[in-house]
Symmetry: C2
Subunit: 157 residues, 2 copies
DNA sequence: CACTAACGTTAGTTGCACTAATGAAACTAC
DNA sequence: GTAGTTTCATTAGTGCAACTAACGTTAGTG
């Protein structure tokens, strides 16, 4: 019934050799698999990825304006509005006008927001573990390091 | 003037630690950078990625129906139509009805299609090299191997 | 006080992966 | 040999994520 899209990189002799050499293709397909797993995990608890990133930013940097949150999470200001609406509906954050600057809102995480983040932490530990299951701890670090170097290089240049 | 979106994974103290631990986030951001570079390279010669994957499949497996091409390239049947229209417009392929099965078309690569593919090969060699610039040959292989194992694992189940 | 910039918000665009529906042709069963 | 099912190419459309534009409001700057 659930026919998952075929994201196997090397499709048993069917895949042209040239395609197997493209790192961007391998990254794209594998990244899509990862994203699907993470999204499903969030969906199972009525959340989505941006709930996590916003709560993480609030937990680690404290109350902030929406512009600050956008900078810290790279969720666009325009998209952040809906995310904060949802988080406020669940009482995980509070949104109040900033008395010092009437353009701003101050976003604060509630206690139940902190518990929600704990839940996400547990869920994501499982997700990461499932994704990286075939790799040893050393290999997982290698992967992070290699991708991190490429990321830094491409972001710089 | 061209202000690229900020896809630096670790944004200098601004990024919550929790986000830096998510492999799917690192993959997503780095994959987006790679995709942008590849897309720009194709765009510079009036092409796009799917032109390459279709020509690669034709070069390596010979003339084929659209359904076969879809299987080999994982370009959806529905999206393949436009790709083949574009390739036919440029005389890089020919699309003819299959006399043995009137439902099918037979897609054949022309000589100029083969030359177009050569051009893509050269372009992509440069793209891959630019993407993986900070990695040694050994490290590039490691990255392929690690991602390949994760991909196979996730595709399996 | 005029000007510019930053704030949150709404609306809209683009690209990509993916689904649904369709008419024509071909297999499959009885 | 005809009825029912499947495959084919094709058109249209959905869902989502990343991204842009425009706007009214408020705050700094000369």
């Amino acid at each position: 019934m659930e026919s998952h899209p075929e994201l196997r990189f090397d499709n048993g002799g069917q895949t042209p050799e040239r395609l197997k050499r493209q790192i961007s293709r391998l990254m794209g397909m594998t990244g899509a698999q990862m994203r699907r797993i993470a999204n499903e995990a969030f969906e199972a608890v009525g959340a989505r990825k941006d709930h996590f990133v916003v709560l993480a930013a609030l937990a680690e940097f404290g109350p902030a304006s929406q512009a600050q949150l956008s900078d810290r999470t790279r969720v666009y200001r325009s998209d952040l509005v809906a995310v904060l609406n949802e988080l406020a509906d669940g009482r995980w954050i509070e949104r109040a006008p900033d008395p010092d600057d009437k353009r701003r809102n101050v976003i604060t995480m509630t206690d139940s927001g902190a518990r929600r983040l704990d839940e996400f932490d547990r869920i994501l530990a499982g997700v990461n573990d499932r994704i990286m299951a075939p790799l040893s701890p050393d290999e997982r670090e290698q992967l992070f390091a290699l991708l991190g170097r490429i990321n830094a290089h491409l972001a710089a240049g």
